[in-house]
């Protein structure tokens, strides 16, 4: 093993950038895990909108309790949640500091290096950071408690009405699920090609950055060629198995709204209503 990459390392590279929603799922089979993905997505969608209506302690407290309570219900260990938040910690802190120095409201509290810090700035910075934190926390719960395929099903169902406008909802969902299914296959293949190229002397690990990038080319070209070949064969196999688009198709995986989903939705509506009532209107 000189210069080749294992599929685990490639996996990590992909996950490092958080480009993919795969691999973050933590199966604890909590009540949140068992919820209908559509309800989860709807709640998150409206949470993201309504949190911007909060403007005092009570309304923010309500949204905070909802997000933290939801997190506790997932039974996902805190370190997984913290890991999901790592890339945005910097942003949250940065936003806070920026507000500290830029906002000029209220009374001057203290002077840092000759720059005055206002009381309003502290408040504003804390509020914006909290809002940011809550948004990230709640949205990360979706990928932590929902498998990619459930998300796909949820998206397909939620986008269903768009079918009337000729939007290819079914095709989109099928593309997503086929991509998910082929990720491990293509990773294995990448490992194989990487080993084959390394055995011919290609070095992926050492040398200047530019040369390492160049070393990836003999990895990508065969990978693409084989991916296209796979796509062609898969298309043929699908046709042979009677696939002809979404028309008249039934589905094995069916989403069902259960009591727990209704309960979650009712709690969410109460929280939002309470926040809208208690917020300042002056």
């Amino acid at each position: 093993m000189t210069g080749s990459l294992s599929s685990w390392q490639i996996w990590q590279v992909i996950n490092m950038n958080n480009l993919l929603i795969v691999g973050q799922y933590v199966p604890t089979n909590s009540i949140v895990h068992r919820m209908d993905p559509r309800i989860k997505m709807l709640i998150i969608f409206f949470y993201v909108i309504f949190i911007f209506f909060a403007n005092n302690i009570v309304s923010y407290a309500l949204f905070t309790v909802f997000a933290v309570g939801g997190t506790l219900l997932t039974k996902v260990p805190w370190r997984f949640i913290a890991k999901g938040l790592t890339p945005v910690w910097f942003l949250i802190v940065f936003t806070f500091i920026l507000h500290l120095f830029v906002t000029k409201e209220g009374t001057v509290l203290v002077n840092v290096f000759g720059l005055p810090i206002y009381s309003g700035a502290l408040e504003q910075g804390a509020v914006i950071s909290l809002r940011f934190f809550l948004l990230i926390l709640l949205t990360s719960l979706l990928t932590l408690t929902t498998t990619p395929i459930e998300i796909t099903d949820g998206v397909e169902s939620l986008l269903g009405p768009l079918r009337r406008f000729k939007f290819p909802v079914h095709e989109l969902a099928l593309m997503m699920s086929i991509s998910l299914r082929f990720i491990p296959t293509l990773l294995q293949e990448t490992e194989k090609i990487s080993n084959a190229q390394a055995s011919r002397g290609v070095d992926f690990r050492t040398g200047p950055f530019r040369e390492r990038v160049r070393a990836v080319i003999p990895l990508l070209v065969p990978l693409f060629v084989s991916a296209f070949k796979r796509a062609e064969e898969l298309a043929m196999a699908m046709e042979a198995r009677g696939y002809r688009g979404g028309e008249g198709r039934t589905k094995l995986r069916e989403l069902q709204v259960m009591k727990r989903d209704v309960a979650a939705l009712v709690i969410f509506i109460i929280v939002v209503a309470a926040a809208l009532i208690t917020r300042d209107y002056s």
Binding site: Q188, E233, A237, T250
Partner: protein, 277 residues
């Protein structure tokens, strides 16, 4: 009525190009196992794709269970003719075994309640019922092919085609697949067509059709076929070890009563050789 009937079928991909198939005619009866064998480029895989309407004949006619193959009834024909391809990975559509078997049923609008029963029973037939929620990357090649067979069985076809379905498997996986389809075929009286370039795999078939350069070279039973060792080698097919041994013995002056087709028959012929004389 035949399960499959080819009437003077010729095929070429484009005009001005040479024919890949020339004037091919044959029939497969319901419940019959026909093996199609030939070297690479002999046209055997083209035959498979023609039977399922993945390609249409340039000339001639194909009739499946009395229904002529054309654009209109192609979906009905695809329901009756199930196909398993060579690469186990490139025909696995679902994210789990259950979803993959369901794919064909979903395509045909089978109600959900019925789907579950059909999935369970077809997975039982290929002995993969314990892997219901496994993802494809956790399965071996042979297991993936068995799931593919289950996916075909779930739509209850009348004919199953295996297009080099064992070519990418290890010897154990290969045996697994052939035993599975043999068992299922016999139990349900299905028409079975196996396409291969390996003579070892045709020995259990009822009939063998040998393709060479786009034409039918011969149609016969396996036992008769292996007698023509030198001719087979001329068209690029390797004769099984058992046959080679039998021929070698013959050259040494030891003639076996009947051409053996597998190890067991060879063994029986050898140990009874002396007492027969």
């Amino acid at each position: 009525m035949y399960a499959i009937e080819f009437k003077n079928v010729s095929f070429r991909y484009e005009e001005e190009q040479p024919y890949v198939l020339r004037n091919v005619s044959f029939q497969v009866e319901a419940g019959e196992w026909l093996a199609i064998i030939g070297h690479n480029g002999s046209g055997k895989s083209t035959i498979a794709k023609l039977m399922n309407g993945l390609l249409f004949p340039t000339e001639g006619e194909i009739i499946i269970n009395g229904i002529p193959l054309n654009e209109e009834n192609i979906w009905e024909i695809r329901r009756q003719v199930g196909m398993v391809f060579q690469n186990p990975d490139n025909q696995f559509v679902g994210t789990t075994v259950r979803d993959d078997v369901a794919f064909g049923l979903e395509n045909r609008g089978v109600p959900r309640a019925e789907m579950m029963d059909r999935i369970t029973s077809s997975l039982e037939q290929v002995r993969m019922q314990d892997y219901l929620l496994h993802e494809p990357y956790r399965l071996s090649g042979g297991q993936k092919q068995r799931v593919a067979i289950a996916g075909v069985l779930a739509i209850s076809p009348s004919v199953i085609i295996l297009d080099e379905a064992t070519a990418m498997l290890d010897p154990l996986g290969r045996k697994e697949i052939l035993d599975t389809v043999h068992h299922v075929q016999a139990a349900q009286q299905l028409g079975l067509i196996t396409i291969t370039h390996d003579l070892n795999e045709v020995m259990q078939a009822h009939r063998v059709l040998v393709m060479n350069d786009g034409e039918i070279w011969t149609t016969t039973v396996p036992r008769e076929l292996v007698k023509r060792q030198t001719e087979l080698q001329q068209i690029g097919l390797d004769v099984p070890f058992v046959t080679q041994l039998a021929h070698a013995l013959e050259r040494q002056g030891i003639t076996l009563d009947e051409q053996p087709i597998d190890h067991e028959e060879l063994l029986d012929a050898l140990w009874t050789l002396h007492s027969n004389k």
